[in-house]
Subunit: 226 residues, 2 copies
DNA sequence: TGGTTTCTTGACGCTTTCTTGACACCCTGC
DNA sequence: GCAGGGTGTCAAGAAAGCGTCAAGAAACCA
């Protein structure tokens, strides 16, 4: 199976690697393993993981050094695992480019939650309570949508779709991304998305047949014009 | 003083607010304060902080609830501070949209380091990897292709081909490599590649008969000029 | 509970995109 | 000149993707 997200686990202890392998595979990840820093760097090149879980104490190279080297060309999120609790170690690792730092022993649930955080952060968006483009205005703090100064009534689903689109305004959102963010995981029914986009356009667009706000990227997804 | 980054500190204990205020001001931040959830939401609207430091135990509203409400329209990074060490609390907060979770007592150095992490991610997310040669511009984060500042509409296949070419700009890509990366293994039909290259050139090149961007290496493959 | 809104699903027609075949072209060598 | 491999262009049919309508199911709200 090649569907899951790729995660690289770097630790010199076989038992920990095996444990994480099992835990992450159960969550649907594709897990790769490396036992030292050199192996880790090669594995990143070979497998292009979307996330790296890295132990600080490696036989050949310090985990901080691995982080620094990776950051020379890669932005892949790195979560550090370590037995070292000293604040100086944490600061050094985070400033070297790590995205998070957990001290062993750690809870699997917390690790997974923090993995979700760094991955969520990968997609960036706008940051204004009020968004507007053309004659479309969306006030998130009041949950209000206006076109030509006229208030538009949206259903929860429609509002959700619009919210996601606005938060990534200008960027193409794939069908999958929209489905996952609006309907949750496990949805892959494009049709339901098409219907809702259609309804949304019927409410927003002056001429729904020639959309000016919600643009279709055929075969890929949708994009909100900016 | 309007130069520093704006940080909102939300905590019901005056002593902690005062302490963080001093520590962060010393680092050059502009610090705003709120004592409960309602105040916090208003303060975000009023001051547009770039970062929020939020205590979980608030008198009027749970910190997780504040996080959830903020996340309905704001992407501003949130770092949770809490005395609660239970894994369930951490997971709930992180999944509600928080970016980090520190348990009190915490080291000021670690807090500052973690603030740097979330802000670093914020910035790196914004600077988009854009490729350009001559009058051709490819913005991968937006899946946008421009020639002479004019937006070009590409089909998924065309975009894929261009993406592969750009990723190896300057180098010759053999027919086989392109076929495999765009159509997957088991494809060896050069004709389909030629047709798609032709269509791509028709959209990109000023004079498709004399291509300036996508160069043909006879008998070998194609190369993107840099 | 009944009535209303909202969501989901299916059917259908339309548009875009992909693939394939036909053919002209440009070299190079004979 | 002409044969032949590699290449570029055009057009047409096939396939996939998309938008709309409508009806039933589900959720919501007095």
């Amino acid at each position: 199976m090649e569907t899951g997200q790729r995660v690289l686990v770097v630790d010199d202890e076989t038992s920990i690697r095996r444990y994480l392998h099992a835990a992450l595979t159960a969550q649907g990840f594709n897990v790769y393993e490396a036992a030292d820093g050199g192996e880790a760097l090669n594995a990143v090149l070979a497998h292009r993981p979307e996330l790296i879980i890295l132990d600080l104490g490696l036989p050949d190279m310090d985990g901080i050094e691995v982080t620094r080297r990776l950051r020379e060309w890669s932005q892949t999120p790195i979560i550090i695992l370590s037995v070292r609790e000293a604040e100086q170690d944490k600061i050094a690792a985070l400033d070297a480019g790590a995205d998070d730092y957990l001290t062993k022993p750690f809870g699997t649930g917390e690790l997974l939650a923090r993995m979700r955080v760094v991955q969520r952060r990968q997609v960036t968006g706008l940051n204004e309570p009020v968004f507007s483009t053309g004659n479309l205005r969306v006030d998130f703090s009041r949950r209000l949508v206006k076109v030509d100064e006229k208030e538009i009534q949206l259903t929860p689903t429609e509002y959700d779709i619009l919210r996601i689109l606005v938060m990534h305004a200008g960027k193409v959102l794939t069908h999958r991304q929209l489905l996952r963010q609006v309907w949750g995981d496990g949805y892959d029914d494009m049709h339901i998305l098409r219907v809702n986009i259609s309804n949304l356009r019927a409410k927003l667009e002056p001429d729904p047949a020639r959309p000016t706000y919600i643009h279709t990227e055929a075969g890929v997804g949708y994009r909100l014009k900016v």
